[in-house]
């Protein structure tokens, strides 16, 4: 992990999103798909905390030319401010942070499922997987066409690619999870990587778990530090033996986690205040634990 003052190379719109490229050779050198950076908001503003963003691309051009690209949606004060960054502005960046997606090991057919800006880190992953001669298939979904992130980039990288939009303005009408069963069947996917809104990750994760396909998801939870020192970013995570659970930090134990071990109901659902896991939760070890995800 490095803290660096990074010059903005460019800040462009990409559909609904902003795509920010930073001169960050040291961070780019280390960055792996699924990791993120934390960008500081300037001093003197009434927001204090850094903003986390997944790494979309890390160009390791050697020397001082290495760049990092992040993609973001201008939702609130931090991202609105970032959307105003101009070339040559200097940002305070910490990264790369968190655990990346794991290498699939012997498994050769990979399915990458992205929702909204969650597709951004998957293109980075796709590059890495292709470099290892893996078969890469993708599903990229969003609410509407202008939120489908860099469709051409997806087409370039994936052997097969399905788009979905909630409003049917691009690709299939519906959600990525509607397309998931047929794509898994068609491609014979042996491993699934997903990034996107948490409920999407949950749906993908639960489907894969039922099929006993290993599935890694890059989660999002509010983060105060990104460094593992504040314990704000936790996700309820089931023990390896399926007995009991613990709150793991998305910023250091994650953001990439084994989907099958996340206790989704407690995290996102109605039972969040319930300290006792539901019936059968601790009794049966998770199906996919028979094929532990290589880590």
């Amino acid at each position: 992990m490095i803290r660096a003052r990074c010059e903005v190379l460019s800040n462009r719109r990409t559909g609904r999103y902003h795509s920010l490229t930073l001169v960050a050779p040291e961070i780019a050198e280390d960055a792996k798909p699924g990791q993120f950076i934390e960008v500081g908001v300037p001093e003197g503003r009434d927001i204090l905390l850094r903003r986390p963003f997944s790494i979309h691309q890390a160009s390791r051009r050697g020397g001082w030319a290495g760049t990092l690209e992040i993609v973001f949606d201008a939702l609130g004060p931090g991202t609105a401010w970032l959307a105003e960054a101009r070339s040559h502005d200097v940002l305070d960046v910490v990264g790369p942070l968190g655990r990346p997606f794991n290498d699939p090991g012997d498994l050769s057919t990979c399915l990458l499922v992205g929702g909204g800006y969650g597709a951004a880190p998957l293109y980075f992953l796709a590059e890495e997987l292709r470099a290892k001669d893996k078969a890469v298939h993708m599903i990229v979904g969003a609410r509407t066409a202008e939120r489908v992130f860099k469709p051409l980039e997806g087409k370039r990288l994936a052997s097969s690619l399905v788009f979905t939009t909630d409003d049917g303005t691009m690709g299939e009408l519906g959600r990525v999870t509607d397309a998931l069963p047929s794509v898994i069947k068609r491609t014979g996917a042996q491993v699934v990587y997903a990034c996107g809104p948490n409920p999407m990750l949950r749906a993908v994760g639960e489907y894969c778990r039922d099929l006993e396909i290993p599935c890694q998801v890059a989660v999002e939870e509010l983060m105060a530090c990104g460094l593992g020192i504040c314990w704000t970013c936790v996700v309820p995570f089931i023990a390896l033996d399926g007995r009991g659970w613990w709150n793991v930090r998305a910023c250091v134990e994650g953001p990439v986690l084994n989907a099958a071990r996340i206790w989704w109901d407690r995290w996102l659902g109605a039972s969040a205040d319930d300290q006792t896991p539901p019936e059968g939760f601790t009794a049966a070890p998770e199906p996919q634990l028979a094929k532990p995800w290589p880590r």
């Binding site: 204090l48 460094l227 020192i229 314990w231 704000t232």
Partner: protein, 319 residues
């Protein structure tokens, strides 16, 4: 030529290489940060509060940003004192930076038991009794809300150990001086002032509390004026008692402000989150400040607030 100021401080026997410590819950045990920054510049580390049993903490969302501050509702997540001993004990011993172990609990008995399990850890120079965390199940578990309950916890802990105990207090009381005095009478070596203020935020789109636990603790620059006031009030009443000032320190000037109000040392909490180097930078900045002012060390700041008006006017008034 100006001589450089010395930064080491002596809190009636508890010594730190400089007066700036990492605050509890805002730096782990230091282990998480060892790979990130050079720990050598730190005055000390106060560990994340440790309880008897492993504690999972509260549901997310656990934080919400507020103007110049943040709310947190972690709920003292920690692996329990046994795993703390096993995992953090060796690290603390090898660290070379003084460590204060923060102890939390929901009963006098629990504080006592944890004290017994941490008092012998090598490298630990003091214990901080976190009797003021707002993120507990019932308000009556905030022992620092009442002088008698605070004294009971501190009394039990100090009877069990010769390691100096600092009582960490809350500003959410009618009379913080009374609570402070009770703690000192009960044997507290010093006082850590202040913990977070009890606060709350609501998402106006969903009408849901922005914290899973509904209420949480407010920290950051927003609360600094309250921390300065508490330190000042307590220091005026207890000039011999070491006070560690906490609340909204992000720069050396903020630390100086707390020390001039009466703090013997300070802690940096929230600032670590956005500036991982904050503790060492604040310490270095105090050094520069002292040198620029021609002061010899932190004791030249402590409680030196000028209450009489016949001191020099600020520059803009001199013309």
């Amino acid at each position: 030529m100006m001589t450089e100021a010395r930064l080491d401080v002596d809190l009636n026997g508890v010594r730190f290489p400089n007066p700036v410590l990492a605050a509890s819950g805002c730096f782990g045990s230091g282990r998480e940060m060892a790979g990130v920054i050079d720990l050598a510049g730190l005055g000390g580390i106060v560990t994340k509060s440790v309880t008897w049993a492993p504690t999972r903490g509260l549901s997310t969302p656990r934080m919400a940003e507020t103007p110049s501050g943040m709310l947190n509702a972690i709920g003292l997540q920690n692996p329990g004192v046994e795993e703390f001993r096993a995992k953090d004990g060796p690290f603390i011993e090898s660290l070379g930076v003084p460590v204060v172990v923060s102890v939390a609990g929901t009963s006098v008995e629990e504080y006592s038991q944890v004290t017994l399990r941490v008092r012998d850890l090598p490298g630990v120079v003091a214990i901080e009794a976190n009797i003021s965390c707002p993120n507990v199940e019932r308000r009556n578990q905030v022992f620092a809300c009442h002088a008698d309950q605070a004294a009971e916890v501190i009394g039990a802990m100090t009877r069990l150990t010769t390691v100096p105990v600092f009582a960490k207090l809350t500003a959410d009381v009618t009379n913080i001086v009374g609570v402070a005095q009770a703690c000192v009478r009960a044997g507290a070596h010093g006082l850590s002032l202040i913990n977070t203020l009890l606060g709350m935020a609501i998402d106006v789109e969903t009408f849901r509390p922005r914290l899973g636990a509904v209420t949480g603790g407010l920290s950051g620059p927003a609360i600094r004026p309250v921390a300065v006031r508490c330190v000042y009030q307590v220091a005026q009443a207890l000039p011999e008692t070491p006070i560690i000032g906490i609340g909204g320190v992000t720069r050396a000037e903020d630390a100086v402000e707390l020390m001039v109000a009466g703090a013997w040392a300070v802690q940096v909490g929230t600032a670590n989150f956005f500036n991982p180097g904050a503790v060492a930078e604040v310490a270095a900045g105090i050094g520069e400040f002292l040198t620029r002012k021609g002061l010899a060390g932190p004791t030249d700041l402590r409680g030196k607030v000028q209450l009489r008006r016949n001191v020099p006017e600020p520059a803009h008034r001199r013309g």
